[in-house]
Symmetry: C2
Subunit: 789 residues, 2 copies
């Protein structure tokens, strides 16, 4: 699984780290002694800078969320005028506005396209069925689905492999501080949009929800950096946004907007980002995110208003107003808590079971997918064929039911594209309940199964077939090479068993069967994804029914509790599977028994630089190590305390990217001396340093230049976060995550002459439980989760 | 303002810091050179450990949110069995359950009491008015209100001054790390409950919402510590909760439950805590908080079900189902964004104006309140009389309006206790619109002014009178010595101007006047309290109408933006006024230009202890300083690196409370030696150390004992968070707040022999902008808020 994919795909248009992806291995800055060859590593604390990105293995890198307070930054900071600060704030809000606007418009267009393509397809199929030309109908249905899947899969496989899947785990990792290459580029965005349209129209068991979250994030990332990598707008105002911190905030806005666009749930979108996706959160960001989702809501509203006059082809109630049950009077009593508890428990068990099996399936699929493009395509197309056959064929197994005009206001039987009580192969006055659920778009299927005031619309057998089918499809569709969301498959599965349970309860309960379906969907979501508040609000906004809220809350809490006792959430499983070094909020209990000093001892010797360093040494260090940060230690200074002894001083931390820039610009000194402030400002600005491209191998240095010196002081971050070597790993990890670090300097607890003022550097990989346990296996006696959970 | 109140009230039953409140001054551990007298302080970086608590000045203290990893803790941690971890988790959830349950029950009882007391009062008054015995009615109305106010005020003034006001600022401060004495005690809880019943029934312009938040927090705090201070349950399981961290989490649950109970808004409650109250937040806590509010929702639901059969006296629709407008079909178009924007802007302006004036009034009131109990009582009673006169007298100014049976389904005229179209002094077939708003409970007033499908129910003049009256009352009622919430007064004011605006818009808009009132209330809340997402959800849950959501969002965003450009939120103003050292999320821009080293230099010399210290020195240090934490520095150790020179080692930080315990238990050594692990465990357990009571002055040490030694190693937190002296104050503050520190050790950036491995200690007060600017006035050239806002 960790080999390089031989068929490496085009990556020119990726926004992040394209240039640096190849040679740097951020994960283990201290992994190599200086002159040791790169491949011959034997060390105790090992780490792995590789992860699955798309279907192939790529180098991943950490993001710099810490503010790099070097001299240039401080000068820029001091000289920023009030106007510039206002510009920055204005731009921040404008970008949040644009993220909302564009996400809203793109979500609208996707809905429009899906509803029309799937709609005309279904209308044609229904037409043939009406004429009893079942085979023609089948061929049309299967053929159209096949072509649409092919379209989506070819796009994904050939142009942007990272567009496959939901993208949410990678966004989660990005906001945690891990950059995966090619995740937020223009090509990914375009492929995601069109691939999603194709895959959803093809009737595959996947949703547009996850992809919309990814689309929102891509839009945010592209706006923040001023366009696609190769055609970036170098606008003066945008330079303030050329840093990982502001991009992180923007991507949070994008992810929220995506959820909002998917479910028309502005508050749910914000909470989803907050609870599931984001690692850091501030009140100010909450507010800006909320602004973005409000814009999305307004855009969607305007669009629905426009389409209500029939301007949008087949787009009617579909797509956006998903499962409005606001007209239902919900009546329940305290005793209804029993069935609700049962739903919650089943949801938790099924959810964790789903996670478990999906994990296995994804492992299998990743082996298939690695065999090459053809295998990926074949897998996708097989699933498409299987899906089409089942969707079209299974309704023939269902018995026709007579329409009961007393029970419902809906048209029965229905021969249209959407709606309840599909006629399918039944005589007039009869409907086929399984066709109502299967021969329709997924959105409509959810609406139909959620439909209230339709008791005994569905037979138990039909629902059982539906449930079994969607369990299989839900497990085997997710991993194929098309943009796919997890929300809808889980909702379909959950609603089926919820409704089944509601039917089983029969007269023992006051709750409508449709509401049981809603609760079932909620419980399975919570059992698999393990969210509570955000799911609750999403379901609230989806169903537009507040009276349901307390029951939804209880269901969600129970199924999360049950699920958590079996395995982690599906997103965590995918993160783990992809090898993304996500830093958890809670340290493991055994981390209290280990100090960072012991951790550093298990790593190779530290490579540090002097304040004024020889060019040859810098080049050597850059070429022979893969570290991304080096401590700058100044020796022989006289401390201001007035002591006669000379001391060593920890000046700070310098980033590889800045060293490469300095060498590249050949800002060399003839003699070993400290420069004046103006000297560096003549050649460098803070904005220059924000650019992180360029590799040391591309820089040519002459033999004469090698003998010259570089003053590193102006480029050094003088305020890196440090911990003393006696700090426990648990507390160090809390610090690392809370303030969003990339490098954490370890300082000695002893004050003594002749010792370096920095003992080592720890990075994200060094703090991962998995890596630490490999080096300190004796710690691995499990004792349950930490108390401070 | 900073004098001690001469009439100090009984404080025995307060849970927090009763014993330590007197003598410790946590805020400035480094403020004194060792032997300097306490009162003769002259130093550069000054700080103030006093704050207004209730109406008097008290010492405040920081909380220990950091995990104190000393030897005893580590031993306890290692020896915790799986069963104990499970016990802990189980207890955590049980407590969250109990917090929800008790808050729900108490909220129910308060509602029941208020609705019945106010209801029978109003019925009697209406009865006299019916008989045209206006003066008797007036005397009854005013007299009852006077007595109820007197009851509430006497309770507050005599038994628990901290129960006055909303309590939310203090909870906010507590969760930020500042402990205010007597805030969460049993007496406060009881006074808050009964005082709130009295004050709300008395018709004062205040709500039960803020008090309910405080009540929830009190319940949580009492449960966490096992009962009131003097009668604490010393249950074995509860010992795990005897720390500030777990109490903090529990109080967060309590605050959320309170909001949920106040508005029947479970999600809104969680979000309120998250957005406004809490400083630290974890996904796990989100979940537990949500559980608590779900319990509250279920309790309220069960209660409403029980009362719907008429078992609860006059309690009907009142109190809980506040402003249900779910039956209203909301219709709006994109063009309606214009009036919505106007509401938002006016809300922002009025909100910040309200904050500004309220600040002035509170300053004035605090001068009056400090004059003694009688002054406090007189002030409260004056306000009560004024309120009664206005509420009863003003409706006589309004014209009687003829009932229009076409317009409404309600009874008109209404002679009952609640409901629209009050008859008051009007003939049959006519109603008095001002009496509908004034001669009723505040909850009913809100319901009436929010009422939809009642256009032209209110005259413009009546609404103007109402608005003007509630502006005055809202400003002058809040500061009196009764439990009072801010939510309801602001909602009343806001709804009045919102409805006025709706009437002014007339036929230009499709939105109902009642919805304008809702939007007006939302805008003023946001303009004054500056919350967005939580208010949005609270209003969503209050109005039970999701279609309103996008408009509410826009209104909230606009009024927050407008308000923020004038002044901070009302809670921040109150925190500032009370002198509570709340640590803001965003550092000031100029903090980047100052290092912690410079800050430490401006403080007096550091007092540190040796690893094995003489008893006399410890006693001396404890008696002569007010510091709460001392660095432990071991000199003359041989570093393991194998150097021949001897080094000084930073062993960690020891807390004053632990030193006092060691001295108190007389765990002394005859000679200067390090003890073995078992020696300390014979005498101390981790649970003992959690007790923070006892003062050094209460400990008697003989002359012989003074010459003995104490081994401080086992009590020292070996993993304090540290920063290097070159760290900028901005980044140090981010660390301080993010990981929840009490003391931050500053280590030198130089590595040299003969220098202490710790340069100084910074505490919360040292990092406050106000204190720093006093010592470094040249930094104070304002340059706008920090960019990273």
């Amino acid at each position: 699984m960790m080999e390089e994919d031989p068929n490496r795909v085009i990556e020119e248009s990726s926004p992040n780290g394209m240039a640096r992806e190849e040679d740097e291995e951020e994960r283990d800055p201290e992994s190599n002694a200086l002159n040791q060859p790169l491949l011959k590593r034997h060390r105790t604390l090992s780490s792995n800078p590789l992860a699955m990105v798309g279907a192939k293995v790529a180098h991943i890198e950490s993001l710099d969320y810490e503010i790099n307070e070097n001299d240039l930054f401080k000068h820029d900071w001091r000289s920023r005028s009030k106007v510039q600060v206002l510009q920055y704030i204005l731009l921040k809000w404008t970008l949040a506005f644009l993220v909302g606007l564009l996400t809203g418009i793109i979500a609208t267009l996707i809905n429009l396209a899906v509803e029309n393509i799937a709609g005309y397809k279904l209308l044609a199929v229904v037409h043939f069925i009406d004429e009893e030309r079942y085979l023609t109908g089948f061929l049309l249905f299967t053929g159209t689905n096949f072509i649409l899947t092919l379209f989506a899969a070819v796009l994904c496989v050939c142009f942007a492999p990272t567009a496959a899947g939901p993208g949410i785990p990678e966004i989660k990792a990005y906001l945690n501080g891990v950059d995966t290459p090619n995740m937020f580029g223009a090509s990914t965005l375009i492929v995601k949009i069109f691939g999603s349209i194709g895959a959803v129209s093809a009737g595959l068991d996947l949703g547009k929800e996850g992809p919309l979250v990814h689309i929102g994030s891509c839009i945010a990332s592209l706006l923040g950096q001023g366009g696609p990598d190769n055609y970036r707008l170098r606008w003066r105002w945008l330079r303030y946004f050329n840093n990982d911190r502001d991009r992180r905030d923007l991507i949070t806005c994008g992810a929220s907007s995506g959820v909002c666009a998917a479910f028309r749930a502005p508050v749910g979108g914000v909470l989803f980002s907050l609870e599931e996706v984001a690692t850091w959160w501030r009140s100010a960001l909450l507010w800006r995110t909320f602004f973005s989702t409000a814009i999305v809501a307004v855009v969607l509203r305007a669009f629905i208003e426009y389409c209500s006059t029939g301007n949008c082809g087949l787009f009617g109630q579909g797509g956006l107003i998903m499962f409005d049950v606001s007209n239902v009077t919900v009546r329940y009593h305290v005793m209804d808590i029993i069935p609700v508890t049962v739903i919650g428990i089943i949801g938790g068990v099924l959810g964790s079971l789903y996670n478990y099996v999906l994990h296995k399936v994804l492992r299998l699929y990743s082996m298939i997918n690695q065999k090459g493009k053809i295998h990926k395509l074949l897998l996708s197309l097989t699933i498409s064929l299987f899906t089409s056959v089942c969707l079209y064929g299974l309704p023939f197994l269902a018995k026709c039911t007579e329409c009961n005009p007393a029970l419902t206001d809906s048209v029965c039987p229905n021969t249209g594209r959407s709606g309840n009580f599909k006629q399918f192969n039944c005589p007039d006055g009869y409907y086929n309940d399984l066709a109502t659920l299967l021969l329709t778009t997924n959105d409509d299927a959810v609406r139909n199964i959620f439909s209230t005031n339709t008791p005994s619309e569905y037979h138990t057998t039909s629902l059982l077939i539906f449930f079994a089918l969607y369990c299989i499809l839900g497990l085997f569709t997710f991993g194929i090479a098309v943009p796919s969301g997890l929300f809808l498959p889980i909702i379909l599965m959950g609603s089926a068993y919820g409704r089944l349970l509601g039917m089983a309860m029969g007269s023992y309960t006051n709750i409508d069967e449709g509401l049981y379906a809603v609760l079932g969907a909620a419980s399975l979501m919570s059992g698999s994804m393990r969210m509570t508040v955000s799911l609750c609000v999403i379901f609230l906004e989806l169903t537009n029914n507040l009276v349901l809220l307390p029951m939804t809350m209880i269901v969600l809490l129970i199924s999360k509790t049950v699920g958590d006792s079996f395995n982690p959430s599906i997103y965590e499983i995918i993160l783990e599977l992809k090898g993304l070094p996500f830093l958890d909020a809670n340290p493991e209990p055994w981390m209290r028994n280990l100090t960072v000093g012991e951790l550093v001892d298990a790593k190779p010797a530290l490579v540090s630089l002097c304040g004024v360093e020889k060019v040859s040494r810098i080049v050597e260090v850059l070429k022979n190590t893969t570290h991304n940060g080096f401590p700058v230690v100044v020796e022989g200074v006289v401390p201001p305390a007035g002591l006669v002894t000379r001391a060593t001083e920890l000046h700070g931390l310098i980033l590889r990217a800045h060293l490469v820039q300095v060498i590249g610009k050949k800002w060399f000194l003839q003699e070993r001396r400290r420069t004046e402030d103006w000297e560096v400002r003549e050649r460098f600005t803070w904005i220059d340093l924000a650019e992180r491209e360029g590799k040391i191998e591309e820089v040519a240095v002459t033999r004469d230049e090698m003998e010259m010196y570089v003053d590193l002081h102006p480029f050094t971050n003088t305020t890196p976060y440090t911990v003393v070597e006696s700090m426990s790993v648990a507390k160090a990890m809390v610090l690392f995550r809370q303030v969003g670090l990339r490098h954490m300097l370890i300082v000695p607890k002893y004050q003594v002459a002749g010792v370096s003022p920095v003992v080592g550097i720890l990075t994200r990989q060094d703090l991962r439980a998995y890596n630490i346990l490999a080096a300190f296996p004796h710690l691995a006696k499990p004792k349950g989760r930490e108390g401070g959970h």
